[in-house]
Amino acid sequence: MAEPVAAGTIAEAGKAEAPAVKAAPAKPAAKPAAKSSPTRRIFIISTLFGSWFATAWTTFTASMIAMLLGTVRFLFPNVLSEPPSVVKAGSVSDYEEGKVDDKYKEFGFWVIRAKDERNRDIIYALSTVCTHLGCNPNWLEADKKFKCPCHGSGFRISGVNFEGPAPRPLERLAIRKTDDGFVLVDKSRKFQKEIGQWDDPDSYILV
């Protein structure tokens, strides 16, 4: 589980981003100049490149900024040695309704079988990361709720917050059933209730 795997998504996102970030500052600078009067454009150009001296300072400043941005970009690693995001979590028949066990808590989720709002019997994967400050709540069987030890947020079995400072429900993770009846959880895709993503069929398995 812990073997180093290049996190493809991160690496790709990083590559895709780099040109975008560099392009971004250029755009707003170009647009207002195009809209404004020609005298103003000439004024900006003559201020920045009017003499050899000004040109030198402008180039110097620009290259220093480019170096700074490059250094900041350097601090974002392109390859991560984090565990793979797809986890096999037993088979569908392992789960009983209304039971929460901590078997996959160390992987960052609970797999729960429960009735949803439309009274369908579903299995879903609930992220163990509290939406307040990222602690891991504990399941309190007696009270039938998740309780976060850091600041006391409480969540129902569905993941919906009802007490404490958490601003929104726990996130659900992508889950699907393989042809031979196993449950696969993909931690890289998250579904948030408050923007209606829990209706996405990828966020639950119908039993």
Partner: protein
């Protein structure tokens, strides 16, 4: 009886005995000081009596008489203590200290308060829960912090009162009496050397007597309950009860730093430069004391000693029960406005319409209040400071006041958020 003695170990009783003997010695020394320096035999006799009382305590504990604090007192303290009363007592205490500063900084009064505190601390140590929390190695600095902040609030205020009296009589402050210069070698250099030696000694004793904590190896699945930030950030963690992380963890700390740096530029008062005074800098000193003592130190003490599992509040003698359940049903301002006030449905409204009351309230607070203050109660400040300084001052104070305001709103009407836009993670 057996249950109690199990809780109060023999070593603990001996330790407490030694502690009470030391306090008795302190009082004997103070009695001597009253007699010699203050020429006050009555006071001297009183403190000799107090020393005797502490010595009796010392004998009782050192002979292992299994004395414990009466349950009734513990229950009373636990019942009185909750986040509201704790904070209100702290604020009222500061106000009382500033208003009756002459009374509180009198050495006899200050000494009395210290002795009551020491007596109460000593008795409290006989309680198992209290003892467990206080003696955690990482909590020792906070005990030091309490006593040092107490002492270093008393000391400057005492000097300030002496100076204020002198200034009222038209005399220069004490510090100005010693304007003549002395050579750094040997005066300052040797002071520093002695100070370093004492510090080194204290640090080594501390390091030998208390082991640095080391818990189980890190594990991302077993999360300790409660999970606390390092102690100096517990004031910020306490703010998280009332604000979202972006406010409590980013915006407000940023404002604290900016606000501190801005102090010399917005404090236009030229008086009080280089000597202790209160009368000449009432506003500046009161605001700073409120910010540092109440909103920082007092909240750290709260976060360290009184916040237990699930970040619930526990009285000082209340066992940390992880199953204690405190209902936290807080309501947003938008719910109050639409549901309770207008009886309207809240669903189906866009976030802008839904949160309009809260947004307007915040805008009025941040943008409407400064001009209002400039026109009314802070008019003289506005005139003397000018627009930019005044605006920065008021904005900083407004951000500082956000915390107590939100606290009071939470305690009185269970308000969760003034503005609640989870779509953009924008909650205030």
């Amino acid at each position: 009886m057996e249950y109690e003695s199990h809780h109060l170990s023999a070593a603990m009783q001996t330790g407490l005995g030694v502690y009470f003997f030391l306090v008795a010695l302190m009082n004997a020394a103070f009695a001597h000081y009253c007699y010699r320096q203050r020429q006050d035999p009555v006071q001297s006799a009183i403190w000799l009596g107090v020393a005797l009382l502490f010595a009796v305590h010392g004998v009782a504990f050192i002979t292992h008489m299994d004395l414990v604090m009466p349950e009734a007192i513990k229950e009373l303290v636990n019942d009185v203590m909750n986040p509201v009363s704790y904070f209100v007592i702290a604020v009222l205490g500061l106000v009382a200290f500033l208003v009756w500063r002459r009374f509180f900084t009198d050495p006899i009064v200050a000494w009395t308060i210290l002795q009551v505190g020491l007596l109460f601390s000593g008795w409290s140590m006989t309680d198992y829960t209290f003892q467990q929390i206080i003696t955690k190695p990482d909590n020792v600095p906070i005990v030091m912090l309490i006593f040092s902040v107490g002492f270093f609030t008393w000391l400057p205020m005492r000097q300030a009162i002496i100076n204020d009296d002198r200034l009222a009589r038209g005399e220069p402050p004490l510090e100005k009496l010693e304007e003549d210069k002395v050579l750094v070698w040997p005066d300052l250099v040797y002071t520093e050397l002695i100070c370093m030696v004492i510090c080194t000694f204290a640090l080594i004793v501390w390091a030998i007597t208390l082991k640095a904590p080391l818990e189980q190896p890190a594990s991302s699945s077993r999360i300790p309950n409660p999970s606390k930030a390092p102690w100096y950030f517990l004031g910020l963690q306490e703010m998280l009860v009332y604000f979202d992380p972006w406010m409590a963890g980013v915006v407000l700390p940023t404002f604290i730093i900016i606000g501190l740096i801005a102090i010399p530029y917005i404090d236009f008062n030229v008086k009080g430069n280089g000597y202790y005074t209160f009368v000449e800098r009432k506003f500046a000193v009161s605001t700073f004391l409120f910010g540092f003592v109440v909103l920082w130190v007092v909240l750290i003490v709260l976060g360290t000693f009184l916040r237990g599992p699930n970040w619930n509040f526990f009285g000082p003698f209340e066992p940390w029960d992880p199953h204690k359940s405190v209902p936290l049903n807080n309501v947003n301002l938008s719910d109050y406005f639409w549901l309770y006030l207008l009886g309207d449905a809240i669903e189906g409204k866009g976030w802008l319409a839904r949160e309009a009351p809260g947004i307007i309230l915040i805008l009025v607070y941040l943008l409407g209040l400064p001009p209002l203050l400039a026109k009314t109660i802070m008019r003289s400040y506005f005139i003397r400071m000018g627009f930019i300084r005044f605006f920065i001052l008021v904005t900083l104070i407004q951000f500082m006041a956000l915390l107590p305001i939100k606290m009071v709103l939470r305690w009185t009407i269970n308000l969760k958020y003034i503005v609640f836009i989870p779509e953009y993670f924008f909650n205030i």
